[in-house]
């Protein structure tokens, strides 16, 4: 009978109860919306990292990433490429020749990472074709074409069709340089990366560096995100003299950001619930104080402190949980809509978001994985909110309350 009493009690003042239920629903919806937005942003960032920056895994000389010395090569890459082509877990790969150098034109110069790629393969790994804003990828091998980022183009006043000079050090430590003509300008979701990277034909860069058919790196895109560690281990075991790294190792800042935002998400939910708890405590205190005589009478008749506490706890609990399904349904529908259509945050600072590597078009994702945690937190908030009103009711002296 105590649960039935608790349920009926919350409807004694319908308007007050509905207001508090609505505030729980709105608060929880806000929490779900924020989590969905964060999850969407993080998924977008991870997608950007995997699809445009690192791939799922990369294979290179163990010291290449730290030294960037053009002599730290993946030699005879054909056997690895052959295996990648026959591997059903692998969707695409791109063999890269990478060095650092100087890009110069009459207006100035800028330090860049020069990526020698097969544009068709690279497009399948880093979505290069989709990033082209001017020009294209289909230049002839002997044209010495180059792709530059939009940010770099703006900085150095480069336009499509103009000539620039790339200067670098070859494996024999000689300065070499060559003129390239800009065949395309690309723009990704990561502005700093656009400023620091240029793309040329792989064979031209191999020739300039004097490394024959050797390469520096193979970036691999897998069919499934969750198979990264298994494939990484398999290739690492097979090619012991090379280093096979996952995207988390290649972009530890992204991995850290995902984990940090995960923790922050719960902190945001906790802050929202604490704010809601004070509203619930206020309502429950009003309820308890309005029913002093009734509570005193119940104690007089023989209701134990435990049962009285249970009654207040259940009333608080019902008041709190009724808003949960409303919030979940609203959260599911709203995030579902924006997951399909995207939420364009360009107006809130496109450049700023891109400078941090985020695409301003966010696709929020319903945080189903966090729902058990959220629901546990809501239950804890309900228990927390009931403690003071319950304690207050237990302090009541039936002889005094019955006389009032």
């Amino acid at each position: 009978m105590i649960p039935a009493m608790a349920w009926r009690n919350i409807w004694r003042n319908k308007m007050r109860s509905l207001v508090i239920m609505l505030s729980v629903a709105v608060g929880l919806f806000a929490a779900i919306a924020v989590l969905a937005l964060y999850k969407g942003m993080m998924q977008g960032r991870v997608r950007t990292v995997i699809d445009t920056e690192t791939g799922h895994i990369q294979i290179h000389h163990p010291e290449f990433k730290s030294d960037m010395d053009p002599g730290l090569l993946v030699t005879y890459p054909e056997s690895i490429i052959k295996q990648l082509e026959s591997d059903k877990s692998v969707r695409s790969y791109s063999a890269r020749v990478i060095t650092t150098g100087m890009l110069s034109n009459p207006t100035g110069s800028s330090g860049v990472q020069i990526n020698g790629v097969d544009t068709v393969n690279e497009a399948a790994v880093s979505g290069l074709a989709k990033k082209i804003r001017e020009g294209g990828l289909d230049w002839k091998k002997n044209e010495k074409g180059i792709l530059v980022g939009k940010k770099l183009a703006s900085k150095m006043k480069l336009t499509n069709g103009t000539k620039i000079v790339l200067t670098m050090t070859d494996t024999a430590e000689n300065m070499v340089s060559a003129a390239f003509r800009i065949k395309g300008i690309f723009q990704s979701a990561n502005a700093p990366l656009d400023e620091a990277n240029v793309y040329v034909d792989k064979s031209e860069l191999q020739q300039l560096l004097g490394i024959g058919s050797n390469i520096h790196e193979i970036a691999v895109i897998l069919n499934y995100d969750d198979s990264v560690s298994a494939i990484q281990n398999r290739y690492q075991t097979k090619y012991e003299n090379l280093l096979v790294e996952s995207w988390q190792e290649l972009s530890p800042e992204t991995d850290l950001m995902v984990k940090t935002v995960d923790t922050y998400s719960y902190i945001i939910v906790i802050i929202i619930l604490i704010a809601l708890s004070f509203g619930i405590i206020n309502t429950m205190m009003m309820t308890v104080l309005e029913r002093r005589r009734e509570i005193g009478m119940m104690v007089a008749l023989g209701t134990s402190r435990g049962r009285l506490m249970l009654l207040i706890l259940l009333e608080t609990f019902f008041l709190t949980i009724v808003g949960i399904p409303v919030a979940l349904i609203a959260g599911f529908l709203v995030t579902g809509y924006y997951q399909r259509n995207g939420l364009d945050l360009s107006g809130m600072g496109r450049d700023m978001m891109q400078s941090f590597g985020f695409d301003p078009m966010i696709y929020p994702s319903f945080p189903a994985d966090k729902l058990p945690g959220i629901i546990i937190l809501v239950f804890l908030a309900a228990v927390f909110s009931s403690l003071f009103p319950a304690w207050k009711s237990l302090q009541m002296n039936p002889a005094e309350t019955l006389q009032k």
Binding site: M297, S304, L402
Partner: protein, 240 residues
């Protein structure tokens, strides 16, 4: 028949004992036997309700002992006192004090649930009680749908549900019209006559005093007269 149910010995209730002491109940001795139909009377502030609260274990005296059967309720812990009240004392309050979200049946059943009585026994007991108070047709009505007299009869049914040693009624007819008050008194008198249920009232109501077999008058927290006790002893010489 008239064995002692309540034996209050030397009880005092003092408010502000350390500053300006106010004696609500002052060194009272009171014996009440089984089957009594007693009225505590006196002017406002004479200590009727306080004495009733002390006997009912709702308040603790500053001194003295209150034996109910063989238990000194002044020495019980709060938790044990709640349990003791549940199983031994029935209460009827001036303002009915029914739980508004429960039906008439549920209000009475609530006590039986607290006692852990099984469903079948609960149903039988509720039907019997509501037959006795003449409210069988109102079992599923909420208090808000009942008149004051009907609510007070439900309160009597609730007070009797636990099969208490005695029922304490604090001004039970104060909020009732003449007809409802008379009807309620008839029911309680009948329960007293037929089942030997002990009733102790605090009251100003002449109708209650008229029907009481024993009238205990309090003034300034002291018993100044106790009429009917001797008469009762004559009627029931086997009592104390």
């Amino acid at each position: 028949m008239n064995s002692t149910v309540i034996d209050a010995h030397n009880i005092s209730k003092v408010y502000n004992p350390d500053t300006i002491p106010v004696y609500a109940v002052n060194n009272v001795h009171l014996h009440l036997g089984k089957g009594e139909f007693a009225a505590l009377v006196g002017p406002s502030g004479s200590g009727k309700t306080t004495l009733l609260n002390l006997i009912g274990g709702l308040d603790k005296p500053n001194s003295g002992s209150i034996m109910i059967n063989d238990t000194d309720i002044t020495k019980l812990s709060p938790a044990k006192l709640i349990r003791f009240r549940l199983n031994n004392i029935g209460f009827v309050f001036q303002s009915y004090n029914l739980i508004p979200v429960l039906t008439a049946r549920e209000n009475a059943e609530f006590i039986l649930l607290l006692q852990g009585v099984g469903k079948k026994e609960r149903d039988e007991r509720i039907r019997q009680l509501f037959r006795q108070v003449g409210l069988e047709e109102k079992l599923d009505s909420r208090p808000s749908a009942l008149s004051g007299g009907q609510q007070q009869r439900v309160a009597v049914a609730r007070a009797l549900a636990s099969k208490p040693q005695f029922v304490l009624a604090d001004e039970p007819t104060a909020n009732l019209d003449s007809s409802s008050a008379s009807n309620l008194l008839d029911i309680m008198a009948k329960l007293n006559e037929e089942e030997g249920m002990t009733f102790i009232f605090s009251t100003h109501d002449a109708r209650v005093i008229e029907r009481a077999k024993r009238v205990i008058t309090l003034v300034d927290g002291k018993i100044v007269s106790d009429t009917g006790a001797k008469l009762l002893q004559k009627e029931h010489p086997g009592g104390d």
